[in-house]
């Protein structure tokens, strides 16, 4: 008989691993969720005031700006990039929106700073594409430049726009009992989840992050995909800035939370299990990452921890989280 007649499947394709992947995906995904639950339970026991709708809403409201920024960062990281300029964009938004509100009124101010966020993101993306430089340094540099703009606008002083009509509306009102910053966070989260999971663009983001050459030869506009992820990140940082500045109505070049924001957002993304190497990850993971880190801070506040214990515990939690992710992806392969 000839070889051609041997009509069997010539590849011993493995069907078995499928179930195993599904199981490990559960470990992977819910390992971290389990960690969050464990934290919730122990904090509930340790502090009787922890488990309340109020406290939960507070946590969300306090961390909405981190989550919004981290959602944007997730896209950039999946596409293989890195954005250290978000803290500067966030702070710029606070200063610029307050300044603009005083000069052109609230609606135009809000629109302009979101546009500025997009423009900064676009500059980040274009600079790192054109210079073929790793976005780490490029966004570190643009971050410094954008901080310069903030100081230029404010001269280092506070810009108080709290009396401009409507300027503090976002930060101080709630929709159906949910503070508006939290609403923005939820909307951004859902929108980006949809973008990543269901659109062709989302798929290109993963492809570009995992193997840009493969994406390129498949006809994906690699440059355009990368630049747009930075635009999304810039817009998210601007929204985060708005969510915070409209709480008090006062813009300030060294806005609260700006200095640690970039690293904090990236930490949340990675703690959630999105790979810093690109090509893989999800918005819901980032949400879990933000929540985990936020719960730790909240718990430490509730329990009145001494400064050095706070640091040591926060650091350990991060390491445990990465460890869990590693265990889970072990289980996978």
């Amino acid at each position: 008989m000839s070889v051609q007649e041997l009509d069997l499947n010539s590849t011993e394709a493995a069907v078995a691993p499928r179930r195993q992947i599904a199981l490990s995906a559960v470990i992977r995904d819910f390992g971290l969720v389990a960690a969050v639950l464990a934290l919730v339970v122990s904090l509930s026991i340790a502090s009787p005031n922890f488990l309340s709708v109020d406290n939960f809403m507070n946590i969300l409201n306090q961390n909405a700006y981190v989550a919004i920024t981290a959602f944007g960062a997730t896209l950039v990281i999946i596409a293989g990039g890195f954005d250290l300029s978000v803290g500067a964009i966030y702070a710029f938004t606070g200063v610029a929106s307050a300044w603009l509100a005083l000069h052109v009124g609230t609606p135009a101010a809000l629109a302009l700073v979101v546009l500025a966020g997009a423009a900064f993101g676009c500059a980040n993306g274009l600079a790192s594409r054109l210079l073929r430089a790793h976005p780490f340094l490029v966004t570190l540099a643009t971050g410094v430049i954008i901080s310069g703009f903030s100081v230029g606008i404010s001269g280092g002083f506070l810009i108080n726009a709290s009396d401009v009509a409507g300027f503090t509306t976002i930060g101080t009102t709630a929709v159906a009992g949910i503070p508006s910053p939290v609403v923005i966070m939820i909307v951004v989260g859902i929108a980006l989840t949809f973008l990543l999971r269901s659109t062709a663009y989302g798929r290109y983001v993963y492809a570009v992050g995992a193997n840009p050459r493969a994406a390129r030869v498949s006809g994906v506009r690699v440059g355009a995909v990368i630049v747009t992820t930075f635009v999304v990140s810039g817009v998210c940082a601007a929204l985060a800035g708005l969510a915070e500045v409209t709480k008090s109505g006062v813009g300030q070049a060294d806005a609260s939370g700006a200095s640690g924001l970039a690293l904090g957002a990236i930490a949340a993304v990675i703690v959630g299990g999105t790979s810093i190497k690109g090509g893989q990850g999800a918005i819901w993971r980032t949400a879990v990452g933000v929540l985990l880190l936020a719960l730790v801070q909240n718990g430490l506040n509730l329990l009145n921890a001494a400064p050095h214990y706070r640091d040591i515990i926060s650091g350990l939690v991060m390491i445990v989280a990465v460890g869990l992710n590693a265990l889970a992806s072990d289980a996978r392969s």
Partner: protein, 332 residues
């Protein structure tokens, strides 16, 4: 200035000749992004203008090593007759201040001393023209006394403390000073760091109220954090004021906003900081020294409280007695 730059950079340990023309001053701020610093700098500029002097600002970025470089580079540049330094780190700036003095530059320190003990009010550097500084230990004791007074209206008074950052030496020394002076009957139920930021103050106070719903008093070491705490109190549905059933606030700085809140009865008191008066004083003395007129011995170390027109604390009473007083910087 009429002087040639080589003369200024002298480099020798010999005392520089008195300046006859415009006095050039380098002002090393804590950070450009800091209203307290900015308010001091603007005042310094204003004072200098009336005395034929010019002040240049250096942005210390809250980073002591950035500041050390700036001091050293400013010596090298040879452009300045005098330095006014707001030290980001009293200890690490010391050798550079010394270098400046050795180079014949008049050096004064503002807000914090230059020397190895940031909590001391004694002069720690020979040849320093003057220091116009905050007495941080006295400040901490003062807000503890204020807390004791505020607590009088509360049954089993519960106190929450918002520090800036206990990792900073100038904050760390406040902690024992405050705790020692707080009446043991008043319980410190919560404390944390809010990084001299309004939003962090808000977040921390919110969490504290969550854990200890019966807090009567928030004490802070910065008005911006006090503002955040006040917002947390009202947003949690409580009322502000020093009476049973309300929560009150003690600030630190007597900022424009803090003064307003005290006058309106929302806050209890705020430690009076007078950055403008401090800056005016240090600038005057420094320019005079550059012109050959050394300060008198009791002008060598000036504690800011002595400059305050309203006493140690901005309170309902002290403000009523000084109806024209407005805060000398703003936070919120």
């Amino acid at each position: 200035t009429a002087c040639s730059s080589t003369e200024k950079s002298g480099g020798s340990a010999a005392a520089a000749d008195p300046v006859s023309g415009t006095v050039d001053i380098a002002f090393f701020g804590l950070a450009a992004n800091n209203t307290y610093t900015q308010s001091m700098f603007k005042q310094a500029e204003e004072t200098a203008q009336g005395m034929d002097a010019k002040v240049q600002f250096f942005d210390g970025k809250f980073d002591a090593s950035v500041q050390s470089r700036q001091v050293q580079d400013a010596i090298t540049s040879g452009n300045y007759d005098a330095f006014i330094i707001m030290p980001n780190d009293s200890a690490s700036i010391l050798p550079f201040a010394q270098q400046a003095i050795d180079a014949g530059i008049k050096v004064s320190s503002l807000e914090y001393p230059i020397g190895k003990d940031p909590a001391s009010v004694d002069l720690q550097l020979d040849g320093l023209t003057t220091q116009v500084i905050e007495d941080v230990v006295f400040g901490a004791e003062s807000i503890a006394d204020s807390a004791n007074r505020a607590c009088e209206v509360y049954e089993g008074c519960q106190v929450a403390m918002l520090w800036g950052s206990r990792k900073l030496p100038t904050d760390a020394v406040k902690v024992p000073a405050f705790k020692d002076d707080l009446d043991p009957a008043n319980k410190l139920v919560a404390e944390g760091d809010a990084n001299y930021l309004e939003v962090d103050g808000f977040n921390l106070a919110t969490d504290m109220l969550q854990a200890n719903p019966d807090i009567n008093l928030f004490v802070t070491v910065g008005d911006q954090m006090a503002g955040g705490a006040a917002r947390a109190v009202t947003e949690s549905g409580r009322t502000l004021g020093n009476k049973a059933g309300s929560v009150t606030i003690i600030g630190y700085g007597a900022t424009t906003d803090g003064v307003e809140a005290i006058r309106a009865g929302r806050w209890f008191e705020s430690l009076a900081l007078v950055p403008k008066d401090m800056a005016a004083k240090v600038t005057e003395l420094t320019i005079a020294a550059a012109r050959g007129e050394e300060p008198s011995d009791d002008e060598r170390s000036i504690v800011q409280n002595s400059l305050s027109p309203i006493g140690v604390m901005a309170s309902e009473k002290s403000l009523a007695e000084n109806p024209d007083f407005v805060g000398q910087y703003s936070t919120q």
